[in-house]
Amino acid sequence: MSNRKINLPWLLKMAWRDGKASISRLMLFMASIILGIAAVVSIQLFSANLKDNIKKQSKSLMGADFIIDSRNKPSKKVQAIIDSLQPAANEVNFVSMAAFPKNDGTKLVKVRAIKGNFPFYGKLATAPLTAAAQYQKKGGALVDATLLLQYNLKPGDSIKLGKVIFPITGSLKSIPGTTAISSSIAPTVLIPYRFLEQTQLIQLGSRKEYQYFFKAPNMDLEVLDQKIDPILDDNNADLDTHTSTSRRLGRRYDNVGRFLNLVAFIALLLGCVGIASSVHIYIKEKLKNVAVLKCLGVSRKQSFLIYLLQIIGIGLVGGIIGAGIGTALQFAFPYILQDFLPFDVVVSITLQPIFMGIVLGIFMSVLFALLPLLGTWYVSPLEVLRTSEENAQKPRKARIFTLLAIVLFVFLFSFWMLKSAVNGFAFTIGIVITFAIMAGVSSLFMKLIKKWFPTNWSFTKRQSILNLYRPNNQTMVLVLAIGLGTFLISTLYFTKDILLAKTSLENKKNDANIILMDVQSQQETALLQSFKSKGLEVIDNIPIITMRMHSIRGKSVNDIRKDTTIQMRKWMLNREFRVTYRDVLSDTEELMSGNWTGTVEKGKPISISVADNVARDANLKVGDEIVFNIQGVLMKTIVGSIRKVDWGSMKVNFSIVFPKGVLENAPKFNVITTYVANKESSAVLQRDLVQNFPSVTILDLRQVFTIVEDIIDKVSWIINFMAFFSIITGLIVLIGSVRNSKYQRIKESVLLRTLGAKSKQIYQITAYEYIFLGLLGSFIGILLSLVSSQLLAVFLFKEPFVPSIIPFLVLVPGITFLVFIIGLSNLNTVLKSPPLEVLRKEM
């Protein structure tokens, strides 16, 4: 090694001199970095903001320091705890029908009957502003602002809930802890607690929640949680502190976060592919210059450093611009996600993601440029006198070391983005395998066409085929760039499909579209009579009995709860199951194991059917014994069968189904469904039902479909917006790679031109070459993305994956066409100018 000192200012000067003349070639390279870094920085900044906001606003998100809630009236033990802690407010909430006397409208709403001055933190945003403070005193209702708009109501009008008509004191814009989406099916109505009894809406079986709000700013909530939560759990109640709620809320956005991280990860990987392919061709062009520099006395280290500094410079500028765009972009997220967030996100700039973005820009540029950069180290000055392929070979050790460093980077980066070593490892292995398959396929492709060269093809076709495997070919580089680009884009497309997978919202004729819930036994006959008089057909009349599990396989649920060695998801131990009985499977169910028992025979055990998710979570098998507590009466049953239930269907589905002949005499209520032909008839029916059966809850599926579609549209928009980001990066990388390949082919094209080739012939040679490369790359890319998407669906998102045909129909021809067009556009300078001029200008 030379003893000469590294003259950094001179190296920088040389890097700048050389770089400024190649600026157009470096722009696309820089664009890859910019987009990749912009995606990472914006998403990281937003995630940091989201976490920060949740943490800071944790009290106002909940409205209290802690809450004790229960699905039933608190037991004596729970009530004693509640009393000792002295709640500052409490509420009972439930879903019910509301009627609007002004226009005879009806709507399913979530009623929150509140006692006390809730919320203690954050505020009820109302119009007029004073309404929040006055509704309790005035005995009025605060009604969801969108609901008022939909029904053309305003403060001063009235709302009827059960037997009570409330004046509307104000419109409710927001309440701590509620999102626009979560309140869209059943908008919130707040009423003073003292009127609850009079509404007569609390009936047997109706779903309700009792909540007690506490204000205790100085209390150690961790200690409280450890002390009373186990007792509350045993008594079917629960403690939520503002800290645990904010943690849970943070986790709720994990899936969104995972997808956004995946988008950023893919954008960045695409950027890396762009860097690697651009620099590969760029440095190949520069090797002759390096040989000249070495002739002039530049050392290996110096020549390497000149181009390394150039890459660092581009990485730095790209990183800064990318971080700038990322920072600007994250101001858009609160608007894009506003319907999904239960709070306003205050955007603040933290330096860490910006700094990370810039460092990442430099680091990824250097790392992915390292392999081609090694060429500058090993190029011989003899290249000046004659070109030798052997001299450009890089030693095996250096190449392996660089490749290992790249793999390590991909792993560390995916670990950082996905916060899971296992997922990061799986991702890295996936990328390595994908890369290896693509390299293998392109190498095999070259060997195959060499072996079975179509000698009888026309001159132009033969030339283009020759271009695919002869020295100086670009098959491997472009198949990798096109293939990986397509692979990542279509993986993202399929992932988007996985996330947006939805049940068909088509409402087939004669399928039930009105569901009446909580129909009490004493109301059933009158209600069925009323249907008959209106000519409505009862499609389903489903009896529902509420019960809890008392013991499983002979062990009481209380013992199971305390036993930490039992592998079981314990949610069902506290759950009040809503169970039905019938003798047939419904069309949304499929028997997985065991035998279906329709009717129980006297003296035989009661054989029930359990949904597969319950069986899985409770570790239940056919033949296991479960004892249920049905409103004080214990009933022994046997798991007779396990069913797969299509929970996505808009039907009334059950976790547990009993056979006929057991529960007929148990206290029950019914769910009745019917089909109503149009919106108007539905409105008339609902008005009539609210008038005569105020405690019955009506679910109008037509309305729900509209709301769900609206939600899905909003989710789609966000996911598409983010996916678009990566897809644009992918396209820029593709354009960059193909555009840079121009310099590989220009000399041959000019020589052919000099030898008298017509424009058409040169166009044809180039066109066929790029079409072959485009087809091969995009097709392999899509095939591999099918595999990766399936793996993502199973292991990361835990959702089913049904591949769409669209990527095959759009991406393969689209990307091939793009490659073909850019390839042909590369020829314009060659064909429009005299050959010598082109050589002097371009080479």
């Binding site: 040389m14 001199r17 003349a21 210059n289 002039l296 006395g297 050392s299 000055p381």
Partner: protein
């Protein structure tokens, strides 16, 4: 006079698959400091291979090269580069200017490598000397062949080399331009007192040097001392 280049029993063999191809063998000669030396021979006679070995751009299969008193076989790639920067200048048939650098930047690269503070001034003077004072900031692609070779001349002399290797310096130029470049080369050489090693198949040019080494089939067929126009 002392010898600036000593070649002893040089051989270069290339291996292609299982076949060996000996390009030059049994080459021994010496070049006196300050002299003008030419190597001539038909295409494929091994002239360029010999130049590469003499200048330390390549490694011989056997034999030794001593350049400016330094045995090249003892030097690694970077030490050779350092030696080239201090002692050697090059002129190539196809100019080999760096396409991304201007004429002036091309000329001053060797000076800057040596840490010369007045590189720009010296470079400008050299380019003025070769008649390109108006082309300082032009890129190679904006210059004619003759102009590019004149930039290469200025670059070759910029580091005041002890020895200058010129590989077919007029090979890519028309006769008139070629003659102008040679005149300039000889003038600059005389002024700087540099040793000049020219590779050419132009016998007229060779006859204007002080010593001619004739190669054929990779072997020396003659080593003649002449009285050149410079000594007359």
């Amino acid at each position: 006079m002392s010898k600036i280049l000593k070649i002893n029993d040089l051989e270069k063999t290339y291996t292609s698959g299982s076949k060996n191809l000996t390009v030059i063998s049994n080459i021994s000669f010496e070049v006196e400091q300050g002299s003008i030396f030419s190597i001539v021979g038909p295409s494929g006679s091994g002239k360029t291979t010999l130049l590469g070995l003499c200048a330390g751009l390549d490694y011989p299969t056997s034999g030794t090269v001593e350049l400016c008193g330094t045995a090249l076989q003892d030097l690694n790639e970077d030490k050779r580069a350092e030696l080239r920067n201090k002692e050697v200048g090059f002129i190539f048939q196809n100019f080999q200017l760096l396409p991304t650098l201007t004429a002036l930047e091309n000329v001053i690269v060797p000076l800057e490598l040596q840490g010369e503070k007045n590189a720009t001034k010296i470079g400008t003077e050299l380019l003025t000397k070769v008649g390109l004072q108006d082309r300082l900031y032009h890129y190679p692609s904006q210059l004619s062949g003759g102009e590019q070779q004149r930039v290469a001349l200025a670059r070759a002399f910029s580091n005041k080399p002890s020895i200058l290797f010129a590989d077919e310096p007029t090979g890519n130029l028309d006769e008139e331009t070629g003659e102008k470049v040679i005149q300039l080369l000889f003038e600059l050489n005389k002024e700087a007192g540099t040793t000049l090693v020219i590779i050419t198949h132009d016998l007229d040019l060779a006859n204007r040097t002080q010593q001619i080494l004739r190669l054929k089939g990779g072997k020396i067929i003659a080593n003649e001392k002449l009285v050149s126009e410079h000594e007359q």
